[in-house]
Point group: C2
């Protein structure tokens, strides 16, 4: 059957796991009006035409006051009939970010708490969501063994028809296969 | 600013790179009415509430007649103001699939040509798109060195609030960090 015209079926949410490599601490929040005592990574919905990494950096800044820069994509989750998406599907992406500032000034309208938490603690606490726990373990693996073990890094490419740029995320290629 | 209510901003397209590990050949098509002589992986838009891997398997079957099974996600591309998406953004995902049948019976309405092509040839030909070439090189790397080098594998998790299941894609965790 015909695939045209295209139509939007997904909202895209992005969270940022901001890891301070010097201290081994990661930035976490507790949302207001959500599950009690569940630590998670700050994040929210993409604005129209906003790149994945830009959403992560913006949401982290809005919620926590921390400035950061995009490093990679760590995970992608797809969920259908998402409660917040009016029957649409939800694509939720967690990015690895590096901090550019350290002084927390969190949004009291969105967050109940915000702190720099030891990554080992986040990876082992029961006071978190299944996804956050999983990605904390993944991040810990990368922190210990090298981020090349866990990252999907970004490359920009020219779009064939439009003359625009698109961004492709995948595992690193070895140098001999780059051309 | 408020992130609620959610709204759909993206269409999601999925392509399948079906690799026959016994022969080192990969399934490629040339679309009708597109760039001349450009080999690419078969694929198309997700239906409402369709999982990424299911879209890849369905589109491959519809376009080429080849049955396959989902193995992993290889790459994610985000593009804004996509020509086919009416000002919405486009998320385009390429999956690694394994063939379950081998006899091509391609859709002459969608495709001009379809064949099993040597993966080395696809990775080096100029008769393809930049993304296809890139992912062919990535797939070649995985074929030679182990798919763990290139895969984002899928795990299912219970969704906290809804009692539904969601699917999370990320790099493999070492066994000692699984719990």
């Amino acid at each position: 059957h015909s695939r045209l015209p295209g139509y939007a079926t997904h909202q895209v949410g992005v969270a940022g796991a901001v890891l301070d490599e010097d201290t081994g601490k990661v930035l976490v929040v507790q949302d207001k009006n959500k599950t009690t005592n569940a630590w998670k990574f700050p994040g929210g919905l993409s604005d129209q035409s906003e790149d994945i990494g830009d959403t992560a950096v913006r949401e982290v800044l809005e919620e926590t006051g921390i400035k950061s820069e995009f490093k990679s994509i760590l995970s992608v989750r797809q969920q259908h009939n998402h409660p917040g998406a009016f029957g649409k599907s939800d694509m939720y992406i967690i990015c690895r970010l590096a901090p550019l500032s350290y002084q927390i000034n969190f949004c009291t309208r969105e967050c109940l708490k915000c702190e720099w938490m030891d990554l080992v603690k986040l990876a082992t606490t029961s006071h978190t969501t299944p996804i956050t726990s999983r990605v904390a373990k993944l991040l810990l693996y990368g922190y210990r063994q090298g981020f090349d073990k866990i990252d999907m890094t970004m490359k920009e490419y020219p779009a064939v028809y439009s003359g625009m740029v698109y961004r492709l995320y995948h595992r690193e290629l070895p140098v001999n296969l780059e051309n």
